[in-house]
Symmetry: C2
Subunit: 202 residues, 2 copies
Amino acid sequence: MTSDDIPRPGPQRAMRADVRRNRARLLAAAREMFERDGAGASLEAVARLAGVGIGTLYRHFPTRQDLLEALLADVYDGLAATGRELLVSPAPGEALTTWLRAFIVRITAFPGMAAAAAVSLRPEQPGRPEPSGARRAVRDAGEALFRRAQDAGDVPADAEFADALRLAGAIAMVTERDPEAADRLLALAAAGLAPGKGAHGG
Amino acid sequence: MTSDDIPRPGPQRAMRADVRRNRARLLAAAREMFERDGAGASLEAVARLAGVGIGTLYRHFPTRQDLLEALLADVYDGLAATGRELLVSPAPGEALTTWLRAFIVRITAFPGMAAAAAVSLRPEQPGRPEPSGARRAVRDAGEALFRRAQDAGDVPADAEFADALRLAGAIAMVTERDPEAADRLLALAAAGLAPGKGAHGG
């Protein structure tokens, strides 16, 4: 137990509530600014909109990617819940593509979000920190749908979930401003671009 | 005929040769710097390596995207030639995926090149300048392979070439540093991620 975990009376708890409130305000402000100006929006403007100083922003989120990860964590939690609901669907292949469509829609809430998600969901590499709970949850939920579709024969037996997720992320990145194109590209990747000659075709 | 087209003796022709040489040097220097530092490499460093001033660089290439387009034009010309060669292949669907694989490999010569290609190959929009000859050539060559594969029944009848090219571009963007992943993702998109349940499946 570190000294931070020791419960303290009044003043300390009040400060903690402030910290939490600042964090929530920063996230709401970031979402608003990013939706307007994209993921490269001014962090000064985010802090200003949240009513805090830029130093407070950096104490909560040392890098822009940290701020993006915090916004993505909410998205991941939502997608994990959606994935768990879809696990009871009677059509496993359809449930997987429905989930991948939701993944694409939700990681394109603002320009640059899909690129941040691609960084965030990259497979673990030596030296990288452990994935957050939300990152693990979204991958576990997607992978469960994927395995189920594979067991049902709707997805090629030699396909990998990580590749399917990366493909969906790639579609999100190039169709950020064009949801109809995202649907078309996902449908094309789902059905197969050249199924007559694909490795798993036939 | 503008005054620039009037043939002139000695000095003027010499200057023109200089202009051409500077352009060629700038392109070679840009390729070298971009391969080292990515598409965001310092343009000052490119000019320095080419042995010209930054003003000369900007006279040839007013924006970074113009410089990238000039490098891409060579790639597009090569891909157009490859596409024409593949038109005689006895396996139309395979020829298409071979060409898309070449497309992915060649637009990932340096980090950021695939993103520049995505901008460059975006479908025409009102107000945008006409595509260059190389851009038209690469699309025509790819589309000819695509139609041939479609006629052979290797590609779904309702698929669009622009979407296939965009999907390949998306794969290139997310796998820039990882050619094996590019191959896996293209194979997955070609065979179909969920062909059992896809719109064209069966």
